[in-house]
């Protein structure tokens, strides 16, 4: 019931297009791993490979030490004990909620099946509508039934493919919190695929960032956000300033000053800093090009020497357009990347 899922060097191509390129990732039991990436980055393909809906080209997927895919093995979907929640929920329209949830409980006796399905519907607060059909439910309710259905057979892992993207606003967050709480309680390993950065940062116990078929970085959400290992990973999690730098003896020399860069390889590089980690000071190194109100904060665009463009997100009284300004960067919030070519 609590098994770790290992994805090891998994590769999948459709014709000449590489959808998943040697991706490796572990899914810990009882934890939510978020796979974040733009649409078409291969995250859904990876999910389908784990579920067994697609066959991989190379690599291996194991669960609790048992090989599911790879090395000549392909355990059929229906024997994997992996629950799946789809973006469109995929409820069976011709079955009641109870029948939907009981669908995967074929091995149990009739009474047990009913009891287990009702128990799950109870958990998602829909037991009183057990005999209703899916089309009368709201989107949030359908989502809850889909989750109850996936959890009913006590899967060892649960995969969620953008399960909240069909819901809007406040509802979305409530439904998500309740859903993930329920999954964590079951102790199953959970993979949540999403393209929504806020969702990934808020929901994840572990975050994996995917781009063009590759998993760029894995770690705690806060670490990945604040200490991205590449400019691509940094960009996927939100806007970031990239300041050209020359690095020597653990110091980064830039057009706007010198910053510590211990451990970074010498030579050309880039300094990455999030807009909210840029503090404005009095000075004349930069000029304020525009100031826009962004709800509680101000977004300030600055131009500097050598065509440098910077963005700062500040609170308090903003500068005025046309004024000059200086910046101060928190050394603890700086990332050093290689230059654009590599």
């Amino acid at each position: 019931m609590t098994a770790e899922v290992h994805i090891d060097q998994v590769r999948k191509a459709y014709g000449s297009r590489l959808a998943v390129a040697d991706a490796s990732q572990s899914l810990a039991p009882g934890a939510v791993t978020c796979l974040l990436g733009p649409s078409g980055c291969g995250k859904s393909t990876l999910l389908r490979l784990i579920a067994g809906l697609e066959r991989l080209d190379s690599g291996r997927i194991t669960m609790g030490g048992r090989t599911l895919s790879g090395a000549g093995v392909h355990v059929p979907v229906e024997r994997r004990r992996i629950g799946l929640v789809f973006q469109d929920f995929a409820l069976f329209p011709h079955l009641t909620l109870l029948q939907n949830v009981a669908f995967g409980l074929g091995g149990l006796a009739r009474a047990e099946r009913r009891a287990r399905a009702l128990e799950l519907l109870e958990r998602v607060h829909l037991a009183d509508r057990a005999n209703a059909y899916p089309h009368v439910l709201s989107g949030g309710e359908q989502q809850r039934v889909a989750l109850a259905r996936a959890l009913a057979p006590r899967p060892e892992a649960v995969l969620l493919d953008e399960p909240f993207s069909g819901l809007d606003g406040a509802l979305r967050e409530t439904v998500r919190r309740a859903a993930l709480e329920l999954i964590r309680e079951t102790g199953a390993a959970c993979l949540l695929v999403t393209h929504d950065v806020d969702e990934a940062l808020m929901a994840a116990d572990a975050l994996a960032v995917m781009h063009q078929g590759r998993i760029l970085q894995t770690g705690a959400p806060q670490d990945v956000y604040q200490r991205p290992t590449s400019a691509e990973a940094a960009r996927l999690l939100g806007p970031i300033n990239l300041i050209p730098a020359r690095i020597a003896d653990g110091v980064a020399f830039t057009a706007v000053g010198e910053f510590p860069a211990s451990g970074a390889p010498a030579g050309a590089g880039r300094l990455g800093v999030r807009p909210e980690d840029v503090a404005l000071t009095t000075g004349n190194a930069l000029r304020v090009r525009s100031v826009r109100f962004a709800g509680g904060r101000w977004t300030v665009e600055l131009t500097g020497p050598d065509g440098l463009e910077l963005r700062a997100s500040v609170t308090g009284t903003p500068p005025r357009e046309g004024e000059t300004a200086g910046i101060r960067l928190d050394p603890g919030r700086l990332s050093v990347f290689g230059s654009e070519k590599n």
Binding site: A90, F92, F103, G104
Partner: protein, 532 residues
Amino acid sequence: MSLPLRARSDRRGPSPLAWAALLAALVAIAPLAAAVMTALQPGAHSLTAPTFLRYAGASAALAAMVAVGATVLGAAAGVLVGLHRFPGRGLMAWLLAAPLAAPTFVLAYGYADLFDVAGPIQSSLRGALGVSPDLNVRSLWGAGLILSLAFYPYVYLTVRAALAHQSASTLEAARTLGATRAQTLRRIILPLLRPALAAGAALAVMETLADYGAVSFLGVQTLTTGVVRAWSVFGSTAEAARLALPLVGAAAVLLWIERRSRQGRVSDAARAKATPLALEPLGGWRGLAALVFCVGLIGLGLALPLGWLAHQGLSVEPDTAALVRAGRNVLILAVLGGALTLGLATALALGGRRTPFLTRLAGLGYATPGAVMAVGLLAPAGFLWRGVEGAAQGLGAGVLLLVLAYASRLTAAALEPIGAGLERVTPAMAHAARSLGESETGAALRVELPMARGALLTAALLVFIDILKELPATVMLRPFGFDTLAVIADRYAKDERLAQAAWPSLLIVLIAAPVVIWLNRQVSRTARGVTQ
């Protein structure tokens, strides 16, 4: 320059489009109403209850046989092609609809001759076994089998369309919940296909009840053959109309089943995120078996009877002059009938959007057998012709009646693609035209119809094929000596000159087959979301 805006009167009556739609619906329903009224008129009853029950019983039995036969064959073919990959699948996918190109009487001629006592099958069986088994297809059973083979494409096509609207994730969800492929088929796919199967079966039964050519040739006495017989042998429109009455009732019920089965498809299709179903590869002997099944179905439904008929036809010299004349006649009818039908259907599609009742009326016309339409037109026509000196002798009057009968019957068939084509034109486009100063009619003519021209072509071709194959209404209403290909085929066949009947029959199939195949490919392309 500021002109005062002239406000239109607030009392907005129906637009010209709405009036046109009403008129179209009335034209479509008029013959039907006339038939019912004729039937209900008091008069001498030559029709006895036992005769009536015998006809009705045969119709019901035949309908039941075809409902089962066509559904089983069509569903198997639809699920096979819609969900699996096997050698030759692409070709089979559209060839499976090809039997729709052949009028049923063509199949009946072919099979009747093949299974004749002197035919090749009985002869070789006698040679091999020394006994002569009773394999007479000129029977209720034979008609049931032949019509099942002729009409399975209706079920096949509705099943394909329904599968195209299913999201892959529904089936994948079942698999992740532990269902095997076979269990998924039984517990998910077939229940989800139930509405499509009902709709397809309803269409097949409609056609079965309406069939005249095959059924009369095979000597089965149904209500529809009774209608034609009552009129042609006994010259009684009233009796024909009374026989037609249960057919109208059945048509209404079938139409209701067919329409109801389609509800809910909209909500499925509206889910934009639905991913198309992945095809399950069938390797080795399974793939071969799938191919054999499809080839067998096409062979029995079209190639075998048609091939045998062609073989027979080649042994005689065709009456080329008669064929050319009949071809020209049916072309005239198709152009006139097609133009009227398309006009009515377009009016209904544009003007009837807010009044679904009108389109349902037209639908009833489609469900009604052509023979009944003819009866409905004969009664008022007879009254009219008697008033106008010499009108009955004129060619124009008969052609007009025929064209009206076709339009009444086929308006709903043409409405279907036109309505679907217009649905793809978003309301915003018409609104844009209105905001730029066009009237509702103007917006329809300048924006909506040009955008739906592909659908208009589809509708025109559908009507063309139906007129080409039409037999009972043409037999009853045509001006004296004005034969179509179907009519001369029917006459030759009833004179037991099958080899001669082969020529017009084959001509019909040769003209219709490419059109049917093209239409089917269009349909499967739009099902996949590729427009135009």
